[in-house]
Amino acid sequence: MTGAAVWSDAVTAARLFAVDRSGTGGVLLRSRAGPVRDRWLALLRAELPPSCNVKQVPLNIAEGRLLGGLDLNATLLAGRPVAERGLLAEADGGVIMLAMAERLSAATTVHVTAAIDAGETIVERDGLSLRMPARFGVIALDEGVEDEFAPASLRDRLALHLDLNAIGIRDAEEFTLDAGETAAARARLPSLKPDAAQIEAVCTAATALGIASLRAPLLALRIACSSAALTGHSSVEREDLALAARLVLAPRALVFPAADEAAPPEQPPPTEDEANEPGAEDQISDTDRALDEVILAAVQAAIPDDVLAALGAAGRSRSRSSGKAGALQKSSKRGRPAGVLRGALRAGARLNLIETLRAAAPWQPLRCREASGSREESRPRILIRKDDFRISRFRQRTETVTIFLVDASGSAALHRLAEAKGAVELLLADCYVRRDQVALIAFRGSAADMLLPPTRSLARAKRSLAGLPGGGGTPLAAGLDAAFMLSDSVRRKGQTPTVIVLTDGRANIARDGGQGRPRAEDDAMSAARQLRAAGVAVVLVDTSPRPGASGEAIAKEMGARYLPLPHADAATLSKAVLASVG
């Protein structure tokens, strides 16, 4: 599609969204900030009724602001809890604009999607329990490049996906739209319903395109209704469905049905000849064809040829695992309570009410006397001043367990065991400072030994390290297995494991204790894959004098950071490891 065609679709999308804001979920606008995006947003604003609320949601919005909670000023003034509406509830009947949606945190995403699903926000915070209507449309401004995307759960709920990155400002000609037309369409919308055959056709097409989520066909049907309302049709027509397919289904398509699969047998999909035909217009006007073919043809026309080619039968995964959710975050706003402090009420700070009241209590008679000059009835019952505020502090458990896996085999001992020991000692000291736990596993001869189960005791760790003998074969697989088992049990305790492997990577003892390099290496590789699959953070320090392919291959296999450190002393070694562990 040409830039002008993309722009024209984008304009249509803005109008469709304006007709049914909450019904269509919203628009995912993938575009860098710039004049094109500004022009589109201006256009959208003109389409929305003047009464429509547009709320900006900044990326780092505090949870309390998003959901609502206690209005402290009003509460203290009134002497009873006064709720404050959150941004989502304030946006009821309007639009929220999510800035930098590609960096949206998991928490914010969940709150927004929950409100989209339920049409209301449920708040259980600060001693309040509230349900507030929150029906809004979403404009997600996705500024991601390449494989950075807005969260999949959000994308799934927004009907219209636009990508304006490819078009220039010259394509984006200004439209003057008649806002009255949109208002009329909004009035027509309730009378428009898709019929059974249309529902079936959209579902069939979505399935054929490999779209698993059932929200997609539902949203496509809503867009079709909006389109019919906008064009003034008395019922949903073919062209409305075709437009919905182009705007809703095409951006979600994972596969394009080949000649003989994925499509229902009674309605053969377009043949090769048709598929190569560029003229989408005449295909759509062909009224004799089955409805779902019309839809598929519309989708096909909307997908660029090169992308179409990539959408093989195997499909193309556009999904992305976010990975952010599992990571532990440090926070002063949640986690385990860790005492109370005098402090100012900044965003996100949690007032500890009882402590605040306790602080204020002794001063009440004095303050009452002081305030007695003022009007009696307007005076709050309890006089609380800024100095009384007590803030709860929280500490989130982010305890990590650093597992050292030390190669004490003959080959490693010869080269570097002493330095490795020194480095581990320094690292241990650092872990101790951070109150992290450490564990130590050594492998030599034919097996791996857990020399030190997870502990905070530095002395014990040092002792077991000092007594570490060297020599024998290199049972790397056994060592990695032991590290994997330990990290699994660490995880079960709710802690985060990090594995640091110090080895030269020359495995020569297999899992069953048998000798022979090829088998040992195979086993080591499979053990490495196991660690990778478990998603454990690993750093591999290659201690051999000539860091070679074997160490690097193992590191790659387990998704580890690879640090070749042939001539480093203990201090540099520990520094490098620390830097890469972060």
């Binding site: 206690l70 203290l76 002497g79 009873r80 809890p81 998991a106 928490a107 969940v110 709150h111 929950a114 699903d117 339920a118 049409g119 449920i122 708040v123 259980e124 915070r125 600060d126 001693g127 309040l128 329990s129 999949a152 759960s153 319903k193 898709p194 529902i199 079936e200 959209v202 579902c203 069939t204 979505a206 399935t207 698993a212 989520s213 059932l214 929200r215 066909p217 539902l218 049907l221 229902p264 695992s321 976010s322 959710a325 599992g326 949640r334 986690g335 385990r336 949690r350 009410l353 009882i354 009241l357 019952r381 309890i382 989130q396 699994d488 995880r491 079960r492 709710g494 699959a533 998603g535």
Partner: protein, 340 residues
């Protein structure tokens, strides 16, 4: 609150629906975890269950939903008023309480009543969500994203059946036994193993891949959204039938017998799968019994075991990260070996 989609109108998702019904028949099984694809109707099913459940008897105006027929389990307040005279009882809908993400600890466990503290300087306890969910369901959407400190709290209460509050100078304990229902999308993060273990049953939810079902889902959803009242009326008969089935099953539950042979097979199944602890066997047995009660059967048979074993055991297998997708397959394999 918005009208709930009727439970009986949910297309497919038989495993999830069955697990929810079993949890409704025997709350002691320990809840249901539904993990799966986006837009597959997980939340819809849980909300539908709330509307489906028959009403329950409570002490009128009790803040903890005490059961008037079980004086041994009364909260402090009911104990005091029971000593003074007979308690009034009332019929209320079974609570299905949402634990929304972003909830604060004070609202979950209960805390000092702010209004009374500010207005009258009184120290009074305001019960939280756990009190409200007593004898009902506690529903966590996106359970895998729940903050750790809330998870710890839930684990503790779910294990003991009692909520102990020691905060802000308050010292309160009250019964809190509820069926935990969690939903989530595994792509967004995993559940802590400890919490996973608390759920009696876990089901995998997939969007239906058969075209006719998909069309039916969209059609019903569309009909519901355009006129929810008419849609609910249309399904009212099916709902009533299902409700009656739950009530009958609850009555029959205690009379369903579990033959020794079946117990032995359940144990063998768990051994074959290497599930940790005895919780697996216990849950499997209870769930099979509830299923038999739903079927109006007098004894638990192998067939009941076979039908419920995947849900009861799937999340209890020792994890093998290289074989991640395979836990259902492993259960199926064990079933076909043990229950020939």
């Amino acid at each position: 609150m918005a009208t709930a989609f009727p439970f009986s109108a949910i297309v497919g998702q038989d495993e999830m629906k069955l697990a929810l019904l079993i949890a409704a028949v025997d709350p002691k099984i320990g809840g249901v975890l539904a993990f799966g694809d986006r837009g597959s109707g997980k939340s819809t099913a849980v909300r539908a269950l709330a509307a489906l459940l028959p009403k329950m008897k409570v002490v009128a105006a009790c803040r903890y939903n005490c059961d008037p027929d079980r004086p041994a389990e009364f909260c402090e307040e009911c104990r005091v008023s029971a000593a003074k005279g007979a308690l009034k009882s009332a019929q209320v809908p079974v609570p299905v309480v949402d634990l929304p993400l972003g909830a604060t600890e004070d609202r979950v466990v209960g805390a000092l009543d702010l209004e009374r503290a500010l207005a009258r300087g009184e120290k009074a306890f305001e019960p939280g969500l756990l009190a409200r969910a007593h004898r009902g369901f506690l529903y966590i959407d996106e359970a895998n994203l729940l903050e750790d400190h809330l998870v710890d709290l839930l684990l503790d209460v779910a294990a003991s059946g009692e909520n102990v509050v020691e905060r802000e100078g308050l010292s309160i304990r009250h019964p809190a036994r509820f069926v935990l229902v969690g939903t989530g999308n595994p792509e967004e993060g995993e559940l802590r193993p400890q919490l996973l273990d608390r759920f009696g049953m876990s089901v995998e939810v997939k969007t239906p891949d058969n075209l006719a079902d998909r069309i039916e889902v969209v059609r019903r959803r569309d009909a519901f959204e355009s006129d929810s009242d008419a849609f609910v009326t249309k399904w009212a008969k099916d709902e009533a039938k299902l409700r009656r089935k739950i009530m009958i099953a609850r009555e029959k539950l205690s009379s369903v017998s579990v033959p020794d042979v079946t117990l032995e097979r359940a144990a063998k199944l768990c051994m074959a799968l290497g599930t940790d602890g005895l919780r697996g066997e216990l849950t499997l047995m209870r769930a099979a019994r509830a299923l038999a009660a739903l079927d109006s059967a007098k004894t638990v048979t192998d067939d009941h075991l076979r039908r419920i074993a995947p849900s009861a055991l799937r999340h209890r297998l020792r994890r093998n990260p290289l074989d991640d997708a395979g836990s259902s397959v492993r259960v199926d394999r064990a079933i076909s070996e043990v229950l020939r």
